[in-house]
Each structure stands twice: as structure tokens, then as C-alpha cells.
Amino acid sequence: MTDTINHWAEAETAGEAIFVACDALTNLQARSDNAAAEPTVCFNDLYRYATEPDAPVKAGLTRLISTNPKLRNDMRILLERVAPLRPISRAAASSGATTTRFGTGFQMTLRKSQADREQLYVIIKLQDQTCSPNTLFVINDTEGCDRIPLPEPTDGTVQLLLGSNSALAVSLRDPKTDVFMR
């Protein structure tokens, strides 16, 4: 059975209830004429961000994900449902030059470049060589959310070269960061 909540309990008459609804409608319309100063996103924008790598990102979305913990949590949960490659465990604390994390069907290792100490290799080994993810999502509670296009894997391995101090490298080194790929 559907519950009935007495939404209009405080209205003295039907006329008053209709007016209250009508007044809300008028206010909504008047405000939309003024247009919100800051862009607002809907869940549709988040879904497109998570599933359509080539789609333009809604203005303000990445900033909102970075600053709004609830929205970041939504992004994380959405990726858990729509990204085939997701973390099984968070990374162990970095031990020297190498950090490794494991996910469903992949292993990600960060390794400092021996040729240039200012650079860092991200090596993603895919267990299923027919699997070819094209986007890496990195979610970190302080650094926010990043979406990075991935190159084609070679022999089941995807490799990225980052600046050691880049925001992405900082995020990936943080054991609390979650990574997803699709």
C-alpha cells in the first residue's frame, strides 16, 4: 500500500492549498527568469561524466565533485556500479619508490623513473588482455576527482608517465585514493 502523507494539513481551505502551490510556482518562475548565478548540475551530468569520455564536461562539475563530499561519494558509488575495473583494496602505504594497488582485473604500480627522478611511471597491468579501458578516474578526498584518457594497452599493459609532483601523481600516491577504469 502507498502511504498517504497529509501534505496539506495546515491549509485551511482547498483555495489556500491551491494558492500556496500556485505561489511556489510563481516564485520558481520568477527566480528562473533571474537565472542562478552559479551553474547547477544534475545527476545526469555526473552520469555522462562517468560514462561518456568524449562528452564535454558540464561547467562547474569537477569543481563541485572536488568540494562537495556527498557528490564525490555519489561519483565513487556510481563508478563502482558502472566501471568494470575498480579497486579491490586501497593502496598500501608507499614503501620507497614503488606503490602498488589491486583492483578487479588489474594491478596498478607507481614507479619512479630511473632516468629522471622528477618523473613517475604509472603501470597498469590488465589481467584480461581483451579488456581495453579508455578512461582512468582518480578520486581523492583532498584532491577531488580527475578523469584521464588512457592510451591503448600494449601486451595487456597501459603505461603513463607523470611529473612526480603533479596533482595526479600526488593523488595516486595517496593510499586513500580510489581508482576506477572503464
Binding site: 501534505h7 510556482l25 516564485n27 544534475c42 555519489d74
Partner: protein, 550 residues
């Protein structure tokens, strides 16, 4: 903030910025190529929210979520609602068909216009035509309560073994969550205070009940004079007071029509407990809400390819169109709002800039002497003439493109046109025994319409109309109106075609209103006399409101 996808801001006394911004964002949601929800869908969603009539739709939505989870088990219910493409009945029909083709689900039966789900403890059916609305509702729920919250609530019904009872329980939880959210973001107290102030004023003045038919132009003005200095500031601007009375009149009329005028809820679902049915409020609000549709349609694609109205014309029309039939009952209030409301808006802006109230009032009093009722009335007439020219030009472009939307313009602007000379060139259209050509018959057959146009020279009345329309097209220089010899693009023709009904609706309202204006002047000894009296009344009140006497 409660909602997580938008800007901060709980409602102070009315709707919150967050709620407004979320509904606005949903109405503008795009799949990357086109708007996801049609304007009618977004408007319906807004009504469900403001009328709190979402309980039934949430119940339907939960059944649809269960169905979606079963027809696309790999991508989840999310792909059904948020996958590529606009949210239309056709696209949902296709998704269900494709999903069941790949992943047959014994409990789900797909029929031409509905989808049925059979639970162990009952069944449920949803029409494809409902799905865009339910999809917009889910967008609203996930964007306000949050995806994580909604997903957690829905979890039990995302499995094949879900029961109808579980779906109902889930719907109840979602309804309660939304109810709590709206209590913060859509409070009713301010609106109730305003409504009661007006109806109490009416009762006091009329020594009886507040009836819609008792609202007059003089009552609106008297209420503003009596209440504009109210501490809460709800009635300070005359224009807002006019809108308030229009809304009160609409509400009283709707309640009276539903036989529910007296205290406590004759329209309620549970009369003994005084419960008011949100569905009845929704039904009452639909007509009021749809009044704005013509203006909204002109702002939306593809009509916005064409600049049918400039900013000043649109501003002149706004209150009139939103008033609906009340414009016929309170025409002077609307005219006063256009004239003195505009003066008050200018004064408020100047006061905000720090100009002294006395300077602002005297400067506007002098200026107002030049912007009287006659000018205000002429503004409406000028807008009506410009709109008529836009309609004529639209006819020309549509007719040249062979678009039968042109016929609606012809029939509206020349309802008595004599088309009998065309009977001879139209063999396959309806004719009466008097040989009168029926263009309603032609409307069904685009080729016949083209024939009519190609032969318009044989019909003097039509030839004259076409010539007038060509002249109008030549004289308009606004975005989207090409000169007659250059032709219009496909996008522009789509814009003209989609705007015809909206323009004709606006034209009708404006024509009815402008015919009332001379009668108002006549009944009150002419515009000049009215100017003298009303200027004194309004500026006296402005001086009191803005403290010039103190």
C-alpha cells in the same frame, strides 16, 4: 545544504534557491545534442513538486526502476534512465524492446503501449508515455536527495525476486525522504500569510466570504494602499500585489469549480480528517501553469531561432499572458502594474544605488507625467501590431516553404476569407454544396495547400493576404526573419512552424485585452483624468512607503 548537486541556500520564506536551481538544471538537461526532457515534462515535474502530488508517480517510478533493472542487468537501471538519447516514450519503448530481446525476463511482458510486470504478489503496468515524466522525477530525486541515498533505498527492488509489496515499501520511503526535503526547501508559511491577508481583507470589505468574483481593480489598489507598508514587506510593490490577487483569484476560482470552497477540504481524499488531495491541487494548477507555455515555447529551440518578440514586448506581455482570463477581469490592474509598477521598479533601483528617497520620488513623479495611461495603452497596441506583423511574416515564410502551419495563421487572421474562387483548382479537397473551400480539409494534404498557394492569384482575398504577408516579411528586420527574396533556412522554417500555435495564443490574449482598453478610458472619464487621479494616489503612497513624509 541538503541537496547535493546545486548551490547553497535553504528557503527563507518561499522556495529555496537550491530547489529552483535544480528544477532549472533538469529542464536544461541535455544528452549532448538535444534537451533531454520536453518542456511539458519539466513543467509536469514542477507541478508534482509544488503540489506535493508525487506519491503516486514515485510508486510508478519504483515499478519502472524494477523493470529497468531486469531488462538491462549488466548496465543496471541507470543505463535505462540515463543512457544516450532524449527521454521520450519512443526511446523507452525501444530500450525495453531491445533489452528484453537480449535478456528475456519471464516476469515482464512488453505490449505495444505498456510494459507489465508480474510479481509473486501482484502485477503492475506502466504506459510508455508516462516514462519520460517518471525519468524526470528520478532525475529530481537523485539530484536532490543524492544518488547514494536513492540507490540505497532502491536496493531491495533491483533483484528479480522483488515483490510488489517491497516496491510499495520502497516508494513510501522515497516519498517520505522527498517530503522532508521539500519541508525545508518549499515552506508554505509565507504563502499562507499572504493568502490569509488577502482573503481577510476581502471578507472585511465585503462583509462575507472571500469569493473570486468579488475581486476588482479597485480592491487590488485599496489592498496595496492598506498593506504595502506591512512590516514583512510582502506587499510593498504594486506589481507583486497584482500578481498576488491574480493567484488568489485563480485559487478561489479553481476551488469553487471543484466544489471545495468552504473551510476544510471538500476536495480531500479523507474529508473527515480534513485531508486535501494533492492530485486535485495539481489539476487546478495545470491550467494556470500552462498559461506561460506560449512564452516558454518561444524561448526554447527551435522557435528561439527567430526573434518574434523583443525584450520590451516580452516584458509588456509577461503579466498579461500569466493572468489568463483574469486579464479580462482586472485589466486596469494590469495596466497600472505596467505603468506604476515600472515607475516603482525604477525608484527601487535608484534607492538601492543610494539616491535620497525625496530626489528619487520627485524625479520619477516628473517623468511619470510623460508616461501616462495613454502611452501605456499604446505600448500594448504597438506590441499587438508588431505581433500581427510577425505572424504575417511567419505566414509568408511558412507558405513559401510549403509548410501547412501557415494555414493556422491564415484561418486565425482571416477567419471569413472567401476562398471560393480556389474551388476550381482544388479537386481533392472538401467543398460544400455552396462551393466553399474548406482549408481544414486542405490541412490534411500538404500538396493541396501548395496547390492553393500556387494559385493564390486566382483568389483575390488570398492574393491580398499573401501580398500583405510579403510586405510584412520585407519590413521586419529581426533575427531569423529573412527578406522575401532570400528565403529561410530549414532551421528557421522549423522555428516558424513550431511557434505558430504559441504566437496565435498570445495574439488572442493580446487582442482581447487591447479591445478592453478604450472601454476602461471611457468608463473613467478618459486617460488624462485617470492619469491625474492615479498619479496622486500612487505617488502619495510611494512617499509614505519610502519615508519622504517622515
Amino acid at each position: 545544504m541538503d541537496g547535493i548537486y546545486s548551490i547553497d541556500g535553504l528557503a527563507g520564506g518561499t522556495v529555496s534557491d537550491e530547489l529552483q536551481a535544480t528544477l532549472q538544471a533538469i529542464s536544461e538537461t541535455s544528452d549532448g545534442h538535444q534537451i533531454k526532457f520536453k518542456p511539458a515534462v519539466s513543467r509536469r515535474l514542477t507541478r508534482w513538486i509544488v503540489c506535493r502530488s508525487y506519491t503516486g508517480p514515485i510508486h510508478e517510478l519504483c515499478h519502472l526502476v524494477h523493470i529497468a533493472s531486469q531488462i538491462d542487468r549488466s548496465a543496471g537501471f541507470e543505463n535505462f534512465f540515463w543512457g544516450p538519447g532524449p527521454a521520450t516514450a519512443q526511446s523507452f519503448r525501444r530500450k525495453i524492446g531491445d533489452g528484453l530481446g537480449l535478456n528475456p525476463a519471464a516476469a515482464i511482458e512488453h505490449l505495444p503501449s505498456t510494459v507489465h510486470v508480474n510479481y509473486l504478489d501482484g502485477e503492475f503496468a506502466i504506459a510508455h508515455t508516462r516514462m519520460p515524466f517518471l525519468s524526470a522525477l528520478l532525475e529530481f530525486l537523485t539530484s536532490t536527495l543524492g544518488y547514494a541515498t536513492v540507490l540505497e533505498i532502491l536496493e531491495d527492488i533491483l533483484v528479480s525476486s522483488a515483490t510488489r509489496a517491497q516496491v510499495s515499501d520502497t516508494a513510501n520511503v522515497l516519498s517520505r525522504r522527498l517530503y522532508a526535503y521539500l519541508n525545508s526547501h518549499l515552506p508554505a508559511a509565507t504563502a499562507q500569510r499572504k493568502y490569509r491577508a488577502v482573503t481577510e481583507f476581502m471578507v472585511a470589505r465585503r462583509n462575507g466570504a472571500a469569493h473570486a468574483e468579488n475581486i476588482t481593480d479597485d480592491m487590488v489598489l485599496n489592498f496595496w494602499i492598506a498593506s504595502s507598508a506591512d512590516e514583512a514587506g510582502d506587499f510593498k510593490t504594486y506589481r507583486k500585489v497584482v500578481k498576488l490577487f491574480i493567484n488568489v483569484r485563480d485559487a478561489l476560482t479553481a476551488a469553487q469549480q471543484q466544489g471545495a470552497f468552504h473551510r476544510i477540504s471538500s476536495i480531500g481524499t479523507d474529508r473527515e480528517n480534513g485531508e486535501i488531495d494533492p492530485g486535485a491541487i495539481d489539476a487546478a494548477l495545470e491550467e494556470i501553469h500552462e498559461r506561460r507555455a506560449p512564452l516558454d515555447l518561444l524561448d526554447a529551440a527551435p522557435a528561439n531561432e527567430i526573434k518574434f518578440l523583443n525584450k520590451s514586448e516580452r516584458s509588456t506581455l509577461e503579466l498579461l499572458i500569466e493572468s489568463g482570463n483574469t486579464a479580462q477581469i482586472l485589466p486596469l490592474s494590469i495596466l497600472r502594474a505596467e505603468i506604476f509598477g515600472a515607475v516603482q521598479a525604477r525608484m527601487t533601483q535608484a534607492l538601492r544605488r543610494g539616491t535620497s528617497p525625496a530626489t528619487v520620488i520627485e524625479a520619477n513623479a516628473n517623468q511619470a507625467a510623460n508616461i501616462g495611461y495613454e502611452t501605456g495603452a499604446k505600448d500594448f497596441e504597438k506590441t499587438a501590431n508588431n505581433l500581427e506583423r510577425a505572424l504575417l511574416a511567419s505566414f509568408y515564410h511558412l507558405a513559401m516553404a510549403g509548410d501547412d502551419a501557415a494555414i493556422s495563421i491564415l484561418l486565425e487572421m482571416q477567419p471569413d476569407i472567401d476562398l471560393s474562387p480556389l474551388a476550381a483548382v482544388i479537386s481533392d479537397t472538401d467543398t460544400t454544396p455552396d462551393n466553399v473551400v474548406s482549408l481544414h480539409g486542405v490541412k490534411e494534404q500538404r500538396s493541396a495547400f501548395t496547390t492553393v498557394l500556387n494559385n493564390h492569384a486566382t483568389c483575390p482575398a488570398l492574393a491580398e493576404f499573401v501580398a500583405d504577408s510579403k510586405q510584412a516579411a520585407n519590413r521586419i528586420s529581426r533575427k531569423g526573419f529573412a527578406k522575401p527574396d532570400t528565403g529561410s533556412s530549414t532551421e528557421e522554417i522549423a522555428g516558424f512552424s513550431s511557434a505558430v500555435d504559441a504566437l496565435l495564443d498570445i495574439h488572442k490574449s493580446l487582442s482581447r485585452f487591447t479591445t478592453l482598453l478604450p472601454r476602461i478610458a471611457e468608463s473613467r472619464n478618459g486617460w488624462v483624468a485617470m492619469d491625474a487621479i492615479d498619479r496622486e494616489i500612487f505617488f502619495d503612497q510611494f512617499r509614505q512607503l519610502y519615508g519622504v513624509y517622515s
